[in-house]
Amino acid sequence: MLSIKNLHASIGGKEILKGINLEIKAGEVHAIMGPNGSGKSTLSAVLAGKEDYDVTEGEVIFNGKNLLELSPEDRAREGIFLAFQYPVEIPGVSNVNFLKTAINEIRAYKGLEPMAAKDFLARLKEKQKLVELDGKLANRSVNEGFSGGEKKRNEIFQMAMLEPKLAILDETDSGLDIDALRIVADGVNKLKSNDNATVVITHYQRLLDYIIPDVVHVLYNGKIVKTGPKELALELEEKGYDFIKAEAAV
C-alpha cells in the first residue's frame, strides 16, 4: 500500500528526515516510536503533503501513485488521513459542515455525487457512537475550545467519518484519560479491515496494549534505526532509548 524509499526531507535548510525506508501493506498496523525531536511528526507531515518541507531525495508510492507529486488535498482524497498531534481550531465552522464538505470533496474527486443528507446523517450518528463522541461536540466549531482530549477524540471521529485507506495517528494517545484511550483504541480497531492500514505514532507502550501492532519501528535522528515485533515496544519501555542511541552511534 505504502512504500517509502530513502526519503530525505528538510525544513529551512535543516535536514530532518535522513533516509527513511518503510513498507506498509494493507491490513497492517505499524507503530513508530522514538525520542522527542526524532522526526516522527515531520514524517507524518511530509506524507500528508505539508508544503513547508522540502523533499530532497527519495520516493513514496501509495497504491501505485507517486504520492509526492500529489497536492495535500489529493492525497487525502486518495485515502491518506493524518490525525494531528496538535489539531487545529477553525472558529465558526461546525464540525458537521466541515466533514460534509470534506466527504463531498473526496466524493467529487472520485466522480461521485454529493452524499445524500440522510446518508450523511446516518453515518454521522453511527460514527459518533463508535467513538462515543458527545453530540454537542459534533455541532460545535471544529476543535474550537475543545479540551486536549476532546480534540484527539475528534480526530478519530473525523477518521471514522472519512474512512481512509491509510491513517497516521500522531500521538493521538497523549492527553487522553484512561477511558478515552480505550475508546479511541476500540474505535481504531473496529475501523481496521483488510484493505486499510494504520500507522500509530506513540511514546507509550500502553496504547499498544489496545492497538496491537504488527511491526514496531524506532525512529531516531531522522532514520528508522530498528524494526521489530510488538515486543520491541516493551523492551523500549523498559530500557529507554539509550540502548538504541548507543547502537545507532556504532
Binding site: 500528508a48 488535498e73 477553525i90 465558526g92 465552522v93 466533514l99 470534506a102 470533496e105 466549531s141
Partner: protein, 483 residues
C-alpha cells in the same frame, strides 16, 4: 507563493461586468443649477422639491471635498459626470411584458429573475423588489400585495408624486443636506431610489429589496432611500448593488434615511458588490454613502447588516441615533478588500435616550494590496442613563501586502454608561489551510470555509436568501488570495 496567488487572481473576472445595451436618456455632462432644473423637470417634480435641491446645491458649492488619512484616490471630476441617465422605456410600466427585454436579461444575469419572483409569489418567503438602474427606478414588484396591508413600497420619484406629505415630513430629517459633502451633492442631484412606509401595527410579510445597478458610462448614481416604520411595525429590507466593468471610476453617492417609531423594528441588510476595479486598481466604483437611522421613539430598534465586497473606494458609516428610551442599535459588518481596493467603513452609535443599547460587530478581511479600515464612534450623551455598548472589531489579513486599521472613538458624557471594546487582528492560518487540505478540501474551498466561519456572526444576521449569496460572494472575491 504570493506571486502565484496574484497571477491566479489576474485571470479572474468580475462576474457582473456586462453592459446592457439599452438606449439611455441622458442629461448633458456637468453640474450647475440648469442641470438640477433639468432633472427636476424630467421627474415632473413639485416646486418644493426643486427648491430643496437648489438649496442643497448652493450649500454644496461652498464645501470642499473631504480628505481621509487612510484612503487615497484620484478625486472625481464633478463636471465630468452625467447626473441623469434613464433607460429609455420609461418608468410607469404595469406588467413585465412592457419591460424592455434587454433589461430583463440584465436582471437575469444578476441572478434576480423577476419571473421567478412572480412564480414564487404563492410561497411564504417572498421578496418584493425595486430595481434602480442608473438613476431611475424601473420596476417595483408585489406592489398590490403590499398595498393591501397599507404598505407603501415604490420608487422615490413616485413617492414624491403620490405621497408628498410623507416625503416632506421625513426626508432630510435624519440626514440633513448639510450633513456632509456627499449628502449635499446627493440632495441636489438625486434621481431616484426607493421609498417605503410601514403603517402602524403592520409586520411586513415579505423581504423588501432594492437592487441598484450602474449601467451607462460616465454616469453617477445618486439614489435616496427613505424608510419609515410607524409604531409597532416591522420590516426587513435588503439592498444589493452591482455595476459593469469600466476603466474609469464611477461615482455612487447615496443617502439612506431610516425612521423607527415607537416599538418599531427595521432590519436593513446590504450586499454591496459594485465593480471593484481591475487587479491593477484601474476603474471601479467610488462608493460614498451616507446611511443613518433614527430610533425616534421608545423601544424601537434598527439593525444594519452589511457585506461589502465591491467598490474601488468605500466610505460609509451606517449609523443609529438612539433617541427613544430603551431603543436598540446594531451594526454587523463584513468588509472585504482585495487587490487595490480601499475601504473605510464603520458605524456611529449616538446614545441619547435612557437604557439604550448598541452592538457593533465588525469583521474586516484584507487581501492583496488593499487597505481596510474600521472607524467607529460610540457617543453617550449626558442624560443617556444606563446606556450600553459592546463593540468587537476583528481584522483578518491574507498575505503581507495588505493593511488593516481600527479607529474606535468613544465619547462618554454620562457616568452610568458601560462601554466595552474588543479588537483582534489575525492572519489566515497556514495551519488552518493545511488542516482543511489534509481532509481533502482544496485551497479555495478551505478559504471559503474559514472566512465564512470567521464572518459567521454577521452572516447569521442576513436573511436566508442573502446569506447564501453573500457566502458565495466572499469566496469569489477572495479567490486565489492565499497560497
Amino acid at each position: 507563493m504570493a506571486n502565484e496567488i496574484l497571477s491566479e487572481k489576474i485571470n479572474e473576472e468580475y462576474k457582473y461586468g456586462f453592459v446592457t445595451n439599452i438606449e439611455a436618456d441622458n442629461a448633458p455632462k456637468g453640474l450647475n443649477e440648469d442641470i438640477i432644473r433639468f432633472i427636476s423637470k424630467k421627474k415632473n417634480e413639485p416646486e418644493w422639491m426643486l427648491e430643496y435641491r437648489l438649496k442643497a446645491f448652493r450649500y454644496w458649492i461652498t464645501l470642499e471635498e473631504p480628505h481621509w488619512a487612510h484612503v487615497s484616490y484620484q478625486k472625481p471630476d464633478f463636471h465630468d459626470i452625467i447626473y441623469y441617465s434613464a433607460p429609455k422605456p420609461k418608468v410607469s410600466l404595469n406588467s413585465l411584458d412592457e419591460v424592455d427585454p434587454e433589461l430583463l436579461k440584465t436582471f437575469e444575469k444578476l441572478g434576480i429573475s423577476i419571473e421567478e419572483q412572480k412564480r414564487l409569489s404563492g410561497v411564504e418567503s417572498r421578496i418584493a423588489v425595486d430595481i434602480v438602474m442608473d438613476s431611475v427606478s424601473v420596476k417595483t414588484t408585489f406592489k398590490e400585495t403590499l398595498s393591501e396591508k397599507g404598505i407603501i413600497f415604490c420608487s422615490f420619484g413616485e413617492a414624491v408624486q403620490e405621497h408628498p406629505e410623507l416625503v416632506k415630513k421625513y426626508m432630510n430629517s435624519v440626514v440633513p443636506y448639510t450633513d456632509n459633502f456627499y449628502a449635499a451633492l446627493n440632495s441636489a442631484v438625486f434621481t431616484d431610489g426607493s421609498f417605503c412606509y410601514i403603517p402602524k401595527g403592520v409586520r411586513c410579510p415579505m423581504e423588501l429589496s432594492t437592487y441598484f445597478r450602474i449601467n451607462s458610462a460616465g454616469t453617477g448614481q445618486f439614489e435616496r432611500t427613505l424608510l419609515i416604520a410607524d409604531e409597532d411595525s416591522y420590516v426587513s429590507y435588503l439592498e444589493g448593488c452591482t455595476a459593469p466593468m469600466r476603466d474609469e471610476n464611477q461615482l455612487h453617492a447615496a443617502v439612506v434615511e431610516l425612521v423607527a417609531h415607537k416599538n418599531a423594528e427595521i432590519k436593513y441588510s446590504t450586499v454591496q458588490n459594485w465593480y471593484p476595479g481591475n487587479k491593477e486598481g484601474i476603474g471601479g466604483i467610488f462608493n460614498f454613502v451616507t446611511k443613518r437611522g433614527i430610533c425616534l421613539e421608545d423601544n424601537s430598534k434598527i439593525s444594519w447588516t452589511q457585506v461589502e465586497t465591491g467598490s474601488a473606494v468605500t466610505w460609509k458609516y451606517p449609523s443609529v441615533i438612539l433617541k427613544g428610551d430603551n431603543s436598540v442599535g446594531e451594526f454587523y459588518s463584513v468588509a472585504v478588500t482585495n487587490n487595490y481596493q480601499q475601504a473605510d467603513t464603520g458605524t456611529k452609535m449616538m446614545h441619547l435616550g435612557k437604557n439604550t443599547r448598541s452592538t457593533i460587530i465588525s469583521k474586516g478581511i484584507s487581501a492583496g494590496f488593499s487597505n481596510n479600515s474600521y472607524r467607529g464612534l460610540v457617543r453617550i450623551a449626558k442624560g443617556a442613563k444606563n446606556a450600553r455598548n459592546f463593540s468587537q472589531c476583528d481584522s483578518l489579513l491574507m498575505g503581507d501586502k495588505c493593511g488593516a486599521h481600527t479607529f474606535p472613538y468613544i465619547e462618554i458624557k454620562d457616568k452610568t454608561a458601560v462601554v466595552e471594546h474588543e479588537a483582534t487582528t489575525s492572519k489566515i492560518g497556514e495551519d488552518q489551510l493545511f488542516y482543511c487540505k489534509s481532509r481533502g478540501i482544496d485551497n479555495e474551498k478551505a478559504i471559503g470555509l474559514i472566512v465564512n466561519g470567521y464572518c459567521k456572526e454577521v452572516l447569521n444576521k442576513l436573511p436566508m436568501e442573502f446569506a447564501v449569496e453573500a457566502q458565495k460572494l466572499l469566496a469569489v472575491s477572495l479567490e486565489g488570495s492565499v497560497g
